[in-house]
Symmetry: C2
Subunit: 384 residues, 2 copies
């Protein structure tokens, strides 16, 4: 079986999270990803925890199946060598601050002279053009400037960062889609091009209809906690030993909930008899539900809800979801054998292809592991 | 100029958010997306606000540039017609609950008999297989079960939903990448295949290194608000009239912050002189900074920080980011003329291609707008 990105060569200048996650999605599909790392230390994430036998789990996860070559981007010889590599590459990707690749003579305008079909992708905080282009990229800043922090969290509480680096991860996903679109276009026309993705734009795009609430109706969405904006009770509720989701999206589900709670009179209550009224009196309703829930554990409550036909779920913590059968059956945690770390468990690929599944069977490279392999050809030719 | 997905025909059975956002990303690139809608009412989102001249902004955003055909999936004639359409399609995509397409005789096993090259993508809450496959998909449940809610929010506060439907949006992004990988593979080999993406898996994958903190070190990450897990002060802080980000990632930036605050002695303070110590005493440090910030507006504080060389940004609300120059220059809000709604502003595409930019110039279709156009060929052939 041919892998979908077999024979696609990616020169990967990226570091830390957004770029490496994008090229991980390409490596999972069979691309040859050559990671250019700075001599001695390599990608910063080699020094990020969690550690297993002093190997970074952060690095092992993001860089599985890639090759590593140590190159000093400040040496002319390295730049000349890179230009040789670029002649044979299909994709170049970088996530430096805008302008850095140009200073190195490795911007798209230069590289397309060497390889007109090259696909050149850049990920940055604010994009290659625009008023804030030169600003440094932090995930927290992207979440804050992109509008998402302002609508995440509880009323009367501060704006809230999503608990993982969504600015990086969403930019990575958009770039993977962009690179695949560009590869498909090149396959049909021979044309290369460059692609520019900003973390702030990626976060902004995830706001979905919150944006049109402003552009169309002039409403500025605010933090409303975890509840549904229109339907109630559709929220996260406190039970005896933790929290549960109860998802009541219409009047007939509310009737079932009242029956489970042994409070049939609430269904007729003038504050709660219609969905719009329940949303108007959502705080009172939440107090009633949480008062009742105090007598039940999460497990008991979810079971009563589901038996009574009301959609409900626990809120799984990281341990609980990692140990859940769902994750095992869906191969969302993959065991890999790393020569130094030993057996590690890292995140799988969420796209399940019937014919060309993600193959995650090669560990992340040691720093410079493939330098000789990649350079030997050019040494033989006397180029370096 | 050929558009990258010109001549790619997508039969789109999806409704609401995840599926339509995925096919929007294909339509932006020139695919012919034919939206199959139920007669009379169509996609549920036609009835979702915000409204402009009674047209749904939610629907207009997600369905720009698509075609609409009204078909009753319960009629045999429609199913026969769909099979004709599928013979000429490149991609079929659906986000029903697992099993629904099979009941209709429209599952992959059936359709690949008609068109072996078809690419068949399914999006669901818990996937086409797995212990929870049959459960209904709600974004809140995906965020809760996928582990993200447990690490989003403030300590001593409840788990928190991300303020937009990230379960849907991330599944859409993964599916767009998956479909493009499958199209590329088919272009090189002729092989079709099916793709299965679950919202819970998509959310889980976004947890990035939080997962390895558990699988490798046995740590269960918890809610830590908006702060950085290792560096301090790197958080959201309250100023006089709102909140700001201050991003101090090392000791030299902390020295600058102390100077801006007129508190040089803090730099020598035994609680704060090293990053690890600052993180240990992060609550005390936050009180000191917010006490000082009480005298300054967001605008003043961000300016002082940036002038003093400390990375800082405001937290933009939805109005502020929508009106920001960045969004205008990056074309992240696009004006479209809709025949009934008139001029509307909807979200742009965050991937900026140099040669094949997203073209967003056709409004969303009215219900059944293209039924005659699409069916006339089959009527002439006497198939229906």
């Amino acid at each position: 079986m041919q892998r979908p990105l077999e024979h696609i060569k990616v020169l990967d200048f990226t570091r830390v999270l957004a770029g490496p996650y994008c090229t991980m999605l390409l490596a999972d599909m069979g691309a040859e990803v050559i990671k250019i790392e700075k001599p001695g230390t390599g990608d910063d994430t080699r020094g990020f925890g969690p550690y297993q036998n002093n190997e970074s789990g952060y690095f092992m996860f993001l860089n599985r199946g890639k090759k590593s070559i140590e190159l000093n981007l400040k040496s002319n010889e390295s730049i000349e060598l890179l230009k040789e590599l670029i002649k044979e590459a299909d994709v170049v990707i970088e996530n430096f601050r805008p302008g850095v690749m140009k200073k190195l003579g490795l911007d798209y305008e230069n590289l397309k002279q060497l390889n007109p079909g090259i696909i050149y992708a850049s990920i940055s905080g604010f994009g290659q053009y625009g008023p804030y282009s030169a600003r440094p990229a932090y995930d927290l800043v992207a979440q804050a400037m992109g509008g998402l922090a302002s609508i995440t969290g509880h009323p009367q509480q501060p704006p809230t960062r999503v608990g993982s680096s969504l600015g990086d991860m969403s930019a990575a996903l958009y770039t993977a889609y962009g690179i695949m679109v560009a590869l498909f276009h090149r396959q049909r026309t021979g044309e290369g091009q460059c692609i520019d993705v900003a973390m702030v734009d990626s976060i902004f795009s995830l706001l979905e209809s919150n944006v049109m609430r402003y552009t169309i109706e002039g409403i500025v969405p605010e933090r409303i906690g975890s509840r549904h904006p229109i339907s109630s009770p559709f929220d996260i509720f406190k039970a005896q030993d933790g929290y549960i989701v109860i998802a009541v999206a219409n009047d007939s589900l509310f009737k079932r909930l009242c029956s489970i709670m042994g409070r049939p009179e609430l269904e007729q209550d003038e504050r709660f008899c219609k969905d719009a009224l329940r949303t108007k009196h959502v705080d009172e309703l939440k107090l009633i539900i949480e008062d009742w829930l105090r007598a039940y554990t999460v497990e008991e409550a979810v079971e009563m809800m589901n038996n009574g036909g009301v959609p409900s779920s626990p809120i799984l913590n990281i341990q609980e979801i990692c140990e859940d059968d769902h994750i095992a059956v869906r191969e969302m945690l993959v065991e890999l054998e790393h020569p130094i770390a030993g057996k590690t468990k890292i995140l799988g690929n969420p796209v399940k292809f019937s014919k060309t599944p993600a193959i995650i069977n090669k560990p992340s490279p040691s720093l410079g592991e493939h330098t000789d392999e990649i350079l030997s050809k050019y040494r033989k030719q006397g180029i370096i």
